[in-house]
Symmetry: C2
Subunit: 451 residues, 2 copies
């Protein structure tokens, strides 16, 4: 819808875009109208020098919009390569939250230069935002909001919205604050238009139980709250309930996508923000340490196997069946792991509910384990004709699947309790447990029962 | 923000809620004000009979809001257990897209009874929506939108918005259609308020390149588009560009969360919509078939090991090292898999880019494989003193990690090309490949070089 907001300038922009692309020697088709998000996608395919050239030849508004849609690291490089004056102009035009995201990627010295080129007030605001942890509500909030005093009337508020229309992108909410800037209520343009003219705002926000988040709330928790309430934006306050800014729905979409990616990638020890565009050498660097850790944990399971070398030498069939036990328990554990990690991502979880979930997984592990143990027992009995071996296989499978289910359910909770990301390397730890456990149980039982 | 919309009725609702909770013998604390999302969360903890009782004692508006926030399957059960007249009243009050989601969970016969209790027009609309695939744009769209004819003026449009304020939840956009209901443009209230009074809408939407999705577009693609453009809503059209409805940002949040969950759960063969609240017996049913498939694929790797029983009997150390090769390659493949699945979830991907990503993963597999092979070579050499064995270990590790990386990158693409979900059981297929491949390469090379 935002696209529609700039419709009046469409003709001018088209020409500017065409000219700028031609000037920079780019062969990208210039369309009648290009949305900033699409333009950013085109820009991402160009080398840095051409990106800078194209942005320099666009109108400030257009360039700022495109820059805000660009990958943040890339946008940081662009700002560093640009004339400092031009760069400062773009920063001043952007929403403060987008500007801060990019400035965080800019080298500190260069950042100071850029900030000193900004109007004092803008620079102050950005410097302030830069002090917040980027993973908290304050780190992703937008400070460009409309506040009205508690003693204003509905008509004042509507008037204020009208006067801010040109400036603000989505001016459909006003935040009502008292004389100490403490948030007293949130009113939508709809609330205001439906109210009797002349109604004091104090009357409208009376008894409103404002839903807001603390400035240091983890951004993923902010996303969960906004999604829970289906809000378009969520106000951010400090400990004394002073209004600091708002987190908007589009930022929340990004946070949710990022969290889903970082969980899935983190589980197996890939980089939490890796994409298919990450240089492969960088990916090698990110993933190697986890592969080394994986080798250490799998050395442990190898050590356990080595304790039973004698049994294996006597009956090589054990080496045939042993990986099946570990594999099956690993898969069982992965299922539990996936359910727990997604649940932690979409819901705030108390201790009671957490351990209830582990109990649930252990029951599933027992249930599936019993069925698979029976299948394995029959299979091994038919193929080997060895009843003892079949029994050992079945029992080991049941026990290791039970272990895998409990571990898969518990590992994310343990990681969280240790203050770590519940997903990070969880799959590696799980496999270490189900492999070692499976080998030990199977080879141990085999040694006891078969020799 | 929607909460604010009902603020005027807060007192009444509070009392109604308190009374209804007491009447139904529930001990849930009634708060001063309860948001529908929170009320739904409370309701989910009650048994069905109490859920029905509480909803019956709330105002129709309140009950409809809470029902819309409830888990869909649960809401379906509630409707089935309710008096048909009461149920129909709630359905009529809900947004059509929410009502359809729940009606899809209701038994077909009962659904017909409920629909026949509705006003003819509402029933017609819902019956129509029910014909669409719930996984497409049409399946998630809301039809409750404001359309204006192309020959209206800005003032007409603003007037229309004003008159719809009471009815509509977020009446900040109008959709401009021509005499054949073909979508010509989208205008925000902001556009309208900024325009010169009397401006014909035809002039404002002239040359607007409307961004809309086809009614049969996959809902995950709709989510990607809305996230890409940072829109609040995205219009849905048919092949002739007739406006059918809009998909809103809150539905997109749900779609993105669902996709992330179904990918992570699907990979390992858990149910794509399993949560910690799924009854454990149901989870056993969902997961067992995949565990059986996993057992079949791991039988294949066991069969490969069995081919080398002779070698293992002669040198049991092979059984010690063999799982390390498979485990390491499995982890490498999981890393590639995670990157690919997330990329497919967040971006529309063409064939060229897809295979480029597989090439990238193969390079990473080679890079990490070389390092790990060197570590393994040195480790085995130091521990066993057997240069040949160390060599076999290193080479197998390199080859199997390379295989794992390519498989991890390619499996989601192959699944997609086959018209399947790119994540479904991908982890199971991957492990089958890296296990079989690792055992075959390691034991094969060992047999050739060591005996």
């Amino acid at each position: 819808m935002e696209r529609a907001d700039v419709e009046d300038d469409a003709e001018f922009e088209t020409n500017a875009a065409e000219v700028s692309l031609r000037l920079c020697g780019s062969d990208i088709d210039s369309e009648e109208f290009i949305h900033a998000a699409d333009r950013a996608e085109h820009l991402e395919d160009l080398p840095l020098s051409k990106q800078v050239c194209v942005l320099t030849h666009l109108s400030t508004e257009e360039a700022a919009e495109a820059l805000a849609e660009l990958d943040e690291e890339m946008a940081g490089d662009v700002l560093e390569s640009m004339d400092a004056d031009d760069a400062a102009r773009l920063i001043a035009e952007m929403d403060p939250d987008d500007a801060v995201d990019i400035l965080e990627e800019v080298d500190e010295d260069h950042r100071d230069i850029l900030l000193s080129n900004l109007p004092v007030e803008d620079a102050e605001q950005l410097r302030n935002l830069l002090t917040f942890d980027p993973d908290t509500a304050a780190g992703v909030m937008n400070t460009d909001i409309i506040t009205v005093p508690l003693d204003a009337t509905v008509d004042d508020a509507i008037q204020l919205i009208r006067s801010e229309l040109e400036e603000k992108e989505m001016p459909y909410y006003v935040y009502v604050v008292d004389e100490h800037e403490i948030l007293e209520g949130v009113l939508s343009l709809r609330n205001l238009m439906l109210a009797r003219p002349g109604t004091p705002l104090a009357e409208m926000v009376n008894r409103q139980d404002v839903i807001a988040v603390q400035y240091d709330t983890d951004k993923e928790e902010v996303a969960r709250q906004l999604a829970h309430y289906n809000f378009i934006c969520l106000p951010v306050v400090d400990r004394e309930e002073h209004l600091m800014g708002v987190v908007t729905h589009d930022d929340v979409l990004d946070i949710i996508q990022e969290e889903a990616s970082s969980d899935m990638l983190g589980m197996v020890g890939a980089g939490q923000d890796e994409t298919v565009d990450t240089p492969w050498t960088k990916s090698v660097h990110i993933r190697l340490p986890w592969l080394v850790i994986n080798m250490c944990t799998s050395s442990l399971s190898a050590f356990i196997v080595s304790l039973f070398e004698g049994s294996i030498a006597e009956m090589a069939l054990l080496a045939v069946l042993m990986p099946m036990v570990a594999n099956q328990a690993g898969n069982t554990g992965q299922q539990a792991l996936a359910v727990m990690i997604r649940q932690l991502a979409t819901e705030s979880f108390d201790a009671k509910r957490s351990w209830g979930a582990v109990v649930r997984e252990s029951k599933i592990g027992l249930g599936t384990g019993l069925v698979m143990a029976l299948i394995a027992y029959i299979g091994v009995l038919l193929l080997s004709g060895n009843g003892f071996l079949a029994f050992v296989m079945g029992v080991s499978l049941l026990l290791d699947m039970f272990l895998g289910a409990i571990a898969g359910g518990a590992i994310p909770l343990v990681l969280r309790a240790l203050g770590r990301d519940p997903a990070q390397a969880s799959s590696i730890f799980l496999t270490a447990l189900t492999d070692s456990g499976g080998f030990f149980i199977f080879l141990g039982l085999a040694t006891v029962f078969l020799f």
